[in-house]
Symmetry: C2
Subunit: 334 residues, 2 copies
Amino acid sequence: MSTIADVAARAGVSKATASRALSGRGYVSDDTRDRVETAARALSYVAHSSATSLATGRTQTIGVIVPSVGRWFFSELLTGAQETLLENGYDLALFGVPERSTARRQVLDDVLPRRRFDGVIVVGIEPDSPEMAQLLRLGRPVVSVGPHTARMNAVSIDDAAAARIATEHLIDLGHTEIAFIGGATEADALTLGDARRLKGFRSAMDAAGLDGRSSVAPAAGTMPSGYEAAVDLLGNRRTRPTGVVGVCDEVAIGTIIAARRLGIAVPTELSVVGIDDHQHAEMFSLTTIRQQPREQGRAAVRLLLRQLDDPDAPVEDVVAASALVVRSSSAAPR
Amino acid sequence: MSTIADVAARAGVSKATASRALSGRGYVSDDTRDRVETAARALSYVAHSSATSLATGRTQTIGVIVPSVGRWFFSELLTGAQETLLENGYDLALFGVPERSTARRQVLDDVLPRRRFDGVIVVGIEPDSPEMAQLLRLGRPVVSVGPHTARMNAVSIDDAAAARIATEHLIDLGHTEIAFIGGATEADALTLGDARRLKGFRSAMDAAGLDGRSSVAPAAGTMPSGYEAAVDLLGNRRTRPTGVVGVCDEVAIGTIIAARRLGIAVPTELSVVGIDDHQHAEMFSLTTIRQQPREQGRAAVRLLLRQLDDPDAPVEDVVAASALVVRSSSAAPR
């Protein structure tokens, strides 16, 4: 197996120059880079990342912690983060560990301190949790994706605004009986993001003088949970609202499926609005607030790489754009 | 920062023993392990994985290549693989790279040869592709998940049998006009797995003497694509089948949604059967053939770790179980 010394000798440069040319870090002229790359190819030279790592102090690997790999938001975010890391020569070490799981404790207590990741991206972690404090104590760049309280490097959307805009869309169409489906089935499980969406719904209803006519049906943020909550809510003809704001698109789609099962026409008898613009939103003609988790994953990586380039870079709090997308699940009430 | 030498001195053992005790590799007595762990905790010792890696020749990292992170099958598989790797002290380096993408070429040509992963798990790669040959040339353990042809370490289901059982279920109920939705919209994009499912469908129809009454509506393996193909297929009352086998659950669910839109009652006017037991199958009461991608991810890791423990272990070809799950999307034709 060829060494970096063999490559340097063949290219007629020093080992340090050959290493710079191949790693892409530090300046070498184009001509030198070409000579070194040609020599490396001729010798079938392959850099050993472990040795490179000891030499540079970098592992070129970023740890990413998500509560689930399968949910749409997280998988889109992972896709964006991984693409951007790959473009920049970094690997993504994946930790899909549910909240309050043993695996999650293991990752935080044991794996992260041992592995010398260059930085960590953490998704959907509660900002005032002991976990966040533990991550920051690692002394490496950390970027948070999701709602947060403290000033830190983070990417989020304005959750309250998203829910307020969704609710105002129904109010503008003339709806007065509007329900919010989502939040949490247990009070202690209410996430900061869902709490802010609920608050945004209530503030829109309050501002329109409709606070007495709003109702909240708790549901987890999944299609089956939204379906079940909607069957209960819509099943009672006397208390049935004419508009529903889902805490997320999966809940809103569960609501549309429940309405179809119950023979309630969308949008003539029921308008439904979601938040996300999930991959299935279009198929269900769902009016929604678009957030782009893939872009949020890209933005998180850019924030992290900036910290790696310049440890003194100022803290940046990116608020990702979201916009109302009107499809045919919402209309004026009959 | 404490070193392994500090830990060894405090515990009164050799550096090699301290290293064995902390890495979990190689024998040490329980008493010694306790002494070393106590010393490591007292000194806040954290192993450096790069240094460990140079010493052991292992990076404790497995590269996993999937064509997409977001699709249900792949995200379930990733979840199972990552859990099992974590349990065994390994990290998962994620490469979600679509077929025929530049990123995929970069991973195969550049990233994998440079990174010293202990092994690679690759999902849904065509067995006779140049990519598979390239992977095997890495000289490290490779496990393939998905249909394959050559004898290699692999996890798959019997795709032909899955589709045959789904089709036979409809034939047993009395259906004679049965369509298969799926395959591929372009001939050169037909995957080995889909080709085998199509073959399983045709062999069941042939065996029942119904080969003249089968039809195939091409679709990609997604819900929207299944929906579109079903709208075309079911829209024509004269050629409408009474039963549909979807190449996967996403296509079958798209078919059910299309039927609802067209006012065709499932199962009284149309029976639909899928393959997967997708997370949404139950919500759509979908009769399906259950395959368990999370278990397949676990099995792939176990196969890989076995190769790492014993490079001479015989090649093993795991065929994962699949079973008919009858729900209410299928019934006898009227």
